[in-house]
């Protein structure tokens, strides 16, 4: 009887802890009250190319601007009642990231997006209500967009054909809790620039695995001590054991995450020479801009200075890094410190993806607000402009 009490108490503790972590409302039924099932063929490929493949939709190509989009119209679906999304893809490449796209009836011109866990080959369940405040009102359009994982995967090798098999929206229910926890804790998230600052394994927030396991361990210890008086003398040993089990569980999750991330790295870079790997930069466009800029620059030994500007700080700094060992600096920093007339005569100016800096052909100047830099264009094409500083006013 005592053992039964203990087992019931422990099951209750972990149901409480895991249920809270899953974010399922306590008032939710065991099974979903409402469900809306969509097959892949219900979606239309708006961007990129796709064909019906049985009940699925096969995506065979992305658009030239680097993404694919499939959507379907919905009949004013009430978001609050269908907050759990379950989606199923096949052969989804690890190099792509998946985004849910939807429109609401109250703002039909605004496209809302939510990053989704990588789908792999199986079903992934995701709670939209906790993921975004935008999931409310009435939904009139729903879709999936796929991009090369930003700042991580070279777009040129990111795409491989895959199939959108199905998607299902359903109301919250206790039966979805294990799947929600699984995707929340073990869903693959690719490396991001923030990973050196904060470790995001799966989705953080209310579903924090460390917090859940710590609270579960504390409550378990309390139950054990309460129901097994003879174990009170072993309090420290029990606590250490529970702590160790929780630690190992967290570490196995961490290793699983590390292994999944390694698979992406391997998919991109293995079996390639050092030179090939160096060329496979996630920002291939910026690396290309650097190559073009280097062709316009004098030799490194000339000491020529290169000033770089872009509306994106990331692109500017990457371009500077790619241009090394050329003697580079941010254009904005230089202009904040001195007038362009004081710059060396052969200074090169590289403008990358910028609307702030515009070339005025009539006056042969680069303009940014009230700032004017007289230049001679050397190369202008697409998002790249390469200029040589010109002595004298406009």
């Amino acid at each position: 009887m005592r053992s039964l009490n203990l087992a019931v108490a422990l099951i209750a503790v972990w149901l409480l802890v895991l249920g809270t972590a899953a974010g399922v409302p306590w008032s939710a039924p065991l099974f979903p009250r409402e469900t809306l099932g969509l097959n892949g063929q219900d979606f239309r490929p708006l961007v990129g190319a796709g064909v019906e493949d049985g009940t699925a939709l096969g995506i065979g190509a992305i658009a030239t601007d680097g993404y694919a989009l499939q959507t379907t119209s919905l009949d004013r679906l009430r978001a609050a009642e269908l907050s759990v999304l379950r989606y199923h893809f096949e052969d989804f490449p690890r190099t792509l990231e998946l985004v849910l796209v939807f429109r609401r009836a109250d703002a039909p011109d605004d496209v809302q997006t939510v990053a989704l866990p990588w789908p792999g080959d199986g079903n992934v369940t995701f709670d939209l209500r906790t993921a975004t405040e935008a999931w409310r009102g009435e939904i009139i359009e729903l879709g999936f967009a796929e991009y090369a994982t930003s700042q991580l995967v070279p777009p040129s090798i990111a795409f491989r054909p895959f199939r959108l098999v199905s998607a299902r929206l359903q109301s919250a229910a206790w039966s979805t809790a294990p799947a929600l926890l699984r995707s929340g804790w073990f869903g693959y998230r690719p490396w991001s620039q923030a990973a050196v600052n904060v470790v995001a394994q799966g989705a953080e927030g209310t579903t924090s695995m460390p917090l859940t396991l710590a609270l579960g361990a504390v409550l378990t210890l309390a139950v054990l001590v309460w129901l097994r008086r003879e174990w009170r003398g072993q309090l420290v040993r029990l606590a250490l054991l529970l702590g160790a089990v929780a630690w190992v569980a967290l570490d196995l999750r961490g290793l699983d995450d590390l292994w999944a991330k390694r698979k992406l790295t391997t998919a991109i870079y293995s079996d390639k020479s050092w030179q090939e790997r160096a060329r496979l930069q996630p920002d291939e466009d910026v690396a290309g801009f650097a190559q073009l800029s280097r062709q316009q620059a004098s030799s490194v030994s000339s000491g020529q200075r290169v000033l770089v500007a872009s509306d994106s700080v990331y692109k500017m700094l990457r371009l500077i890094y790619f241009l090394l060992p050329l003697n580079t600096a941010p254009l904005e920093t230089a202009i904040a410190q001195a007038a362009p007339s004081s710059f060396p005569a052969d200074t090169l100016i590289v403008i990358c993806a910028s609307k702030v800096w515009q070339y005025d052909g009539a006056t042969s100047t680069l303009l940014s607000g009230a700032r004017v830099v007289p230049v001679t264009p050397l190369f202008v094409g697409g998002d790249l402009g390469i200029y040589r500083l010109r002595r004298g006013g406009p």
């Binding site: 490396w191 923030a194 917090l211 160790a244 630690w247 991330k261 600096a329």
Partner: protein, 485 residues
Amino acid sequence: MSTTYLFAWFVAIAAGMLAAFWLSASTRAGRVATVCGYGIVFGMLLAAAATALTARADTAQAWIHAAPWLAAFAVGFSALAYWLQRHMAAPRPAESDDEAAGYWPRVAAIVALASLIWRGSILASEVLLRPTFPWDAWDAWAVKSKTWYLLGHYAAYVSPGEWLAHPDAELYTGPTWDYPSTLSWMQVWFASAAGDWIEPLANLPWVALWVGLLLGHYGQWRALGLDRTRALIFVYVLGSLPLLTMHVALAGYADLWVATIFGFGVLSWLRWQEQRDGAQLFLALTCAVTLSLLKHEGIVWCLMLLLAIVFATLSSRWRWRSAWIAAAGLIIAAVIGQSHVLFAAIGWVRSGSHVVDIPVIGSLTLAWHKPAAIGIVRSLFVQSNWHLLWWLVGPILLWRWRVLRASDALSVCALLLLACFGLLFFLFVFTDAASWAESYTAVNRLIMHITPAVVSLLALLLREPRLVPGSIRTDPGPDRLSDPA
């Protein structure tokens, strides 16, 4: 990987190990691990120093110029250390064995070790495959090394103003022009040995650093009285910390170096306190100085470590007096509303009624930032950065409070770590740096700097009671220097 690249690794690590060998001669327990751990880490840093001092004119062949000097230094230093060891015999501490460990803890330790080896192989392959990825790695730390290596010689990095003022000089600038150059020189060493600017090979030292961190801590914990099983379990604890793992997989930041050297410094200082081994005091001081050469924040940890070393040498009466003097100084500064304090290596720290001006950080406005406090709590207890480390700190301190109070070394170590944490808390919760905690950008990286030392404190609190400080064997023994590792 070319033979020359591997040989450059061999030279650097051999030099470091040779130097570390003679500084770890006072104990057998964990000596091999200590020598390997400290040797790997300081070998890479010695390579950086040799490159900076001898290869500025020809960075493309840097390691060839620097290697003879590095080897000569290692041999000369070893001879000096050997001579000092012979003339300054340190007492030999009691050594622990595994008699107390049961079957299952040993199995757990072996499984933990296996998981670390697997983790290490994943990390190595990740670093060896990918070009430099994280932002500050290519924006800050690899900028100078790439420039110097590809340029073929050294060129000074200066402020943008100075760069513009001297258009004809071969000067370089950038957002991080004033960052310490130690790690850049280390990358020049390895790039020159690789024969090209191959980023994975220039980043491989971060994997070696992780190995050195774990080996060095294991060795020192053993030397400080932890049995093998406990030491291995705590190596697993340290090696499995997610944020540390990230800093190896996404190699290129300086923070793991600071964490390692601070951890080594604290351990050597603890050994000096408990075993009066002068070589360990030398290592602790070396670590303190090295911290200031790695990263700006390292200057603060350097000063904290030096203050702790001095504080530990004071008698109880003088410790209280110095604490009262410091408290009085703080109160007076608060009442007057402003103060100027000169810190070595930092310069004048000026505080006004609502502003603190710290040269290496900048001017910080003082105010309470509640979201930052919440951010710190989330970082420590909710996010996946530390597994359950910070959940365990409080209970272990409470459980082993008597052990902590009974050990002067551990008490002062705990005070040091508390002061470090207090500084971070003040920085993130009471100044403009709060945004770094609210956005989770720097808060975890700075906490990581003291984390290996915190793990050391926890490990040493869980030593077998018979091996807690005080159980020092005073007879060094005539054959001490010839003990096998």
